[in-house]
Amino acid sequence: MIETIAQAMLPVDEKYEIKKNRIQKGKSQKRICIVTGTHGDELEGQYVCFQLQEILKQRDDLNGIVDIYPSLNPLGMDSMNRKVPFFDLDMNRVFPGDKEGSLVESVAYDIIQDLKGADLVVDIHASNVYLKEIPQIRINETQAKELIPLAKLMNVDYIWIHSASTVLESTLAYSLNVLHTPTLVVEMGVGLRITEKYGHQLIDGILNTMKELGLLENNVKPVKEPIISLDKNVHFLNAKYAGLFLPIMSHDHFVEEGSLIGKIVNPLSGEVLDSIYSPCQGLLFTLREYPLVNEGSLIGRILER
């Protein structure tokens, strides 16, 4: 059943609505929420929302509630805008929201009220338009103990335990975890695109987690064992020069120390400005998709192995 969880009027003959679809079978009140589209330029979660429903239609063993929220930022998604248009505001920096606050803050409050109390929330992100990511779950170190066991069920390649940052306290996931609603942040793929392979991998993980939580009764596919690491194992490659980045190494590949990752070139002068080499042996789990770089732009990340 499709429900509106937050709404407001827009100036000219339009309602601003955030919707969810509730799929409920059996007597159990256990609840999993699939949330995506906080950033309007991230579409990987759209495929998961659709395909998960296709699979659930074919299964007859659901016992509980699956709530699907495909777009927390419908105005951004419709206008290919990462942020909330009009306010130019990153929605994932206003949680837990404020009931008495302005539109975006009060809508954020409504979203939290609707999600809190779930047995699990899966918040699906798709990096941004600049970088491609392997399927991974990112966990704040202060919440690692409770979340790692759940994250291991999700069939992702990698679980990144990152250091605490006060900025990230304004995210949906952090705010829900503080309210004792376990929430996992999935990052996968790239902005404005759909990577079907990653979508299916994550759906297998969601089904496996549902089975473990008691929402599904019959068998599900086995899942992979993820790599788990802390910040110190992750090497960042940043551009030393502004230019055009031409990758040589493919995303999601193991590289040797000294492997050539790519080059930064100048199409005006014809110069090669820089050759970027891997500082270690490891997995190239992040790679730049958008070819133009400023000085400092992230080129990739390598997980040292």
């Binding site: 100036p11 900025v167 502004a242």
Partner: protein
């Protein structure tokens, strides 16, 4: 006056980004004034330009006291300003969410680090800034309560209001917060406008800075006027929200005193101009913030009022 490039970033096809500082006087780093950090902060750029003009004259007249050095950085994100964009053009990040910066990090972290390195040792820091909701403000000094704030000194600006507020999680990456952590006494100065220039409030903001510098003994020219500042906790202000959306018709101006029951604004139906909602003052007080765009969303705070003390 010494013009210097504080930070420079090369681009592939655009001219280099040069962040310039204008230094007046010689001596210990006394006060740093940062203007436009977002590409739409035109009023803040202009206010700095007027200050640079004033200090150039003061310096020629020997009106800047010895042992004090004043630095003005009029613009940081003019890559954004030159294309009418508030945030960093390529990745839309906000430089004022990147402090203290990181020299090995992403582009805007590097810019923040380059700027912060040049300004972190000043005794006083004044940032001319703006709010994310488009609107007009009563001129005021805003201070975050970090435990290191100096509210008493803020009274030297002589503006009508000093707003004090608790930091939110994302505030920890702003310039103001980091200045305080590095033991600079930091003040955010809000004037009426952002995208457009209001000469009267530019003059008021400029006078308040000159008043502050005179009171701290940095310049010789006294600045008359000024208010006995009222200190307000932000949470004590009333937000008046509209529930309906449509065309906003305002009946009041920012800084205007209003009586309880007075109609402050109406929301009109976008198709037939009928009144669909009235915003009424729940008590008497002063209009502190006013939404100014002609179209307004539902559930939006269109007015903030400073209420009378009971």
């Amino acid at each position: 006056m010494e013009e210097k490039v504080i930070y420079e970033l090369k681009s592939l096809y655009r001219d280099h980004l040069r962040i310039k500082g204008y230094q007046f006087g010689q001596g210990k780093p006394s006060v740093c004034i940062v203007g436009s950090m977002r590409g739409n902060e035109v009023q803040q750029l202009y206010l700095c330009a007027k200050l640079i003009q004033k200090f150039t004259k003061y310096e020629q007249q020997g009106m800047i006291n010895k042992h004090y050095s004043i630095l003005i950085i009029p613009s940081i994100n003019h890559y954004g300003m030159n294309i009418n964009h508030r945030f960093w053009p390529q990745d839309d990040t906000d430089i004022n969410r990147m402090f203290p910066g990181y020299s090995e990090g992403e582009t805007t972290q590097r810019i923040a680090q380059g700027v912060f390195d040049a300004i972190k040792d000043f005794e006083y820091g004044i940032q001319l800034t703006s709010f994310y909701i488009p609107g007009e403000f009563a001129s005021h000094i805003r201070i975050m309560k970090t435990g290191l704030e100096d509210i008493e000194t803020a009274k030297l600006f002589g503006l009508p209001y000093i707003v004090v507020r608790d930091p939110r999680p994302y505030d920890t990456t702003t310039l103001n917060f980091n200045w305080q952590i590095w033991e600079t006494k930091a003040y955010s100065l809000y004037t009426k406008e952002t995208d457009i220039i209001d000469e009267k409030s530019v003059q008021e903001g400029m006078n308040s800075i000159l008043r502050f510098l005179y009171q701290k003994g940095m310049i010789k020219q006294p600045m008359s006027g000024g208010y006995v500042s009222e200190i307000i906790e932000e949470k004590q202000m009333i937000s008046l929200k509209c529930q309906q959306a449509g065309i906003l018709k305002r009946f009041v101006e920012v800084e205007e005193y209003v009586e309880k029951g007075q109609i402050l604004a109406q929301i009109l139906n976008s198709y037939d101009a009928s009144v669909i909602e009235e915003i009424v003052a729940p008590t008497s007080g002063v209009i502190f913030f006013l939404h100014v765009k002609p179209l307004v969303y539902g559930r939006t705070a269109i007015i903030k009022m400073k209420i009378d003390k009971i």
